[in-house]
Symmetry: C2
Subunit: 365 residues, 2 copies
């Protein structure tokens, strides 16, 4: 049995009230007494019982992060960012996956968790009606992670996919002098793909470049699929000033491999760029030009917003948009552009954490 506050009190020869005061609002107690109590605490290795404390204080200093899935690079980054920030702010983070539960139970599950966590950061994958329900059922603060901007009723963090894709497009058109750009996205229904495609179209239009319907392809974000598809098409794609803009790094990697296998040189015969700046982006030859998506930062921001709301429940919802950052490596370059013969390192060695610009939107009251 662990020591209780009473044990400490007895040992320090004071009442439990005094011990409690030492634990909380320290200045209210005489210096000598405090020292006695602190010694007792140390000697007994005393730690306040979290449950008793929570019962009185009605808070647990715990936050939950609910993700569609726990697998994969992106989520792992998100978790890491959220976890670090949580720790920094003195919270403990509970992580849950909603994918593994059927849709109906997702909610139930959160409710179960409710009461033990002070706040919830939820990443909503499917845009079902559950969202609203979730928000209203819960009595604790919720922040939407990468949710569509519709959810303005609660705090939210999003990645500005559009600006990331636009930056890439401008790089391709302006710096690499690409004239024909083939867009390889995920499923048409995919929200991110849609955003990136939108940016693609806009940029092409702005640059007065023609967009052939054949140059807009929807696959499934998988390496293998992209490899197979590219194996058939890649010869038709090659040419100076031509480039494939894949909506994620894995597909980009598959396309590079297919191009290489077909005897093409990347980037000389065909440029290939990706999106995400995952680990994969450093595991292609040549290293992949891509867009860094600040997942870790998004996790951190979510936790931060949660903490802020906990501190001030009445403030109006904040909306934070994180800007991805273009990472130029070597998988696309201007035609005729000299490259070192040894594989050069990334020119932007590492995107600095917190580099993406954060803008706080006008507070919607």
């Amino acid at each position: 049995m662990a020591a209780s506050i009473e044990d400490v009190a007895r040992r320090a020869n004071v009442s439990i009230s005094t011990v409690s005061r030492v634990l909380n609002r320290r200045n209210l107690v005489n210096a000598q007494t405090r020292e006695r109590v602190e010694n007792a605490i140390a000697e007994l290795n005393y730690r306040p019982n979290v449950f008793a404390r929570g019962l009185m204080l009605r808070k647990s200093e715990m936050l939950a992060l609910v993700l569609p899935d726990l697998h994969g690079e992106f989520y792992s980054e998100l978790i890491r960012g959220a976890n670090n920030k949580a720790r920094e702010l003195g919270y403990v983070l509970v992580i849950a996956s909603s994918r593994d539960l059927d849709d109906g139970r997702e909610l139930v599950d959160d409710l179960q968790r409710r009461g033990i966590v002070d706040g919830l950061a939820v990443m909503i994958s499917e845009r079902t009606g559950h969202t609203a329900e979730l928000l209203s059922e819960l009595r604790i603060p919720v922040v939407a992670v990468d949710g569509a901007a519709e959810e303005r009723r609660c705090d939210s963090v999003v990645i500005d996919q559009r600006s990331g894709a636009t930056a890439m497009m401008e790089h391709l058109i302006r710096d690499c002098r690409c004239r024909r750009i083939i867009f390889v996205g995920g499923l048409e229904t995919n929200f991110d793909t849609a955003e990136r495609l939108g940016a693609y179209r806009e940029a092409m239009l702005r640059a007065n470049l023609p967009v052939s319907p054949d140059d807009i392809i929807h696959l499934d974000y998988q390496y293998e699929t992209a490899y197979r598809f590219a194996t058939e098409r890649v010869r038709g794609w090659s040419g100076p000033g031509n480039c494939v803009f894949a909506a994620n790094d894995e597909m980009a990697s598959g396309i590079i491999d297919a191009a290489t296998a077909a005897g093409l040189r990347v980037p000389d015969d065909l440029g290939v760029v990706g999106f995400g700046d995952t680990r994969v982006a450093r595991m292609t030859r040549p290293p992949l030009t891509t867009v860094h998506v600040p997942m870790s930062q998004m996790g951190a921001t979510a936790v931060e917003l949660l903490a802020q709301r906990l501190a001030d429940p009445d403030r109006s919802p904040a909306f934070v948009s994180l800007t991805p950052q273009l990472i130029v490596r070597d998988s696309c370059s201007a035609p005729g552009h000299k490259r070192l013969s040894t594989p050069p390192r990334a020119r932007h060695p590492k995107p600095v954490e917190g580099d993406g610009k954060v803008k706080r939107a006008e507070e919607t009251a």
Copy 2:
């Protein structure tokens, strides 16, 4: 304010004891009364306060998983497996990273968490003295995840690296008829690398194959490093019946890319195999023959052991060893062996979760 047990009692016209009984040992209460109470609970959307409950029961139904880091494929798998199992068993999983904290505070941190979690699964990266300290300070059950087998004092799960590496070596020697095998490991100090290298030496010896000191290389598990190193050495490695056994998939991938860039054909001119069966293994051309390490299962097992100990605190420590599984793809094959011209799919499409054999060691009392 959420409804309390008293509200329910009032509404159902019973005492709180009865409500509590309905909540816990249901059979002790009359059917009609129970129904009344259950209705009241539903109507009020009542949920027992976790803190009050925890205060009495001295348990929270929460488990913690402490990892050296939260980043990367392996940890993400581990977390996922642990999380799913935890949920299945009715626990909530708290995840923490010890790497982000300096070494001294790691312990403190666990102590802080103590009291709110019922049990702890810890993966110890550095073999510092802290381990013992940690175990003794904590009063809750601990299971060692992938810890060296020394820690027989508590339950533990490990991956049997050795048997995985041996299976690979036997495949290379027997099935692929390799005569010269180059071992590319991580740092010499790395525990896993040492195990795998041990298996390598043994297998070579058993097969009566010579081991040149030049063919044992220690790098750092990174793609880039392996790529660079291989770029210089790969010509010397090539030859029929020659194969590189990389201690992880990333290095294998780098080596394949280097070989390809040097004009070699994999596997015809040089076989390359990896270890881990991470996502990367499906993102090489040809797809990588490798060893599947059941991380997800390890996470699940850790949680399971924890739950078992919680149920029966006095049973003797269990020791579970998980056997990795050889995954034969196409990056190494017998010389002259016919391959399809289209990139074939993995012959073992997907290692089934829970496929690795689990053997429970003799219980050390």
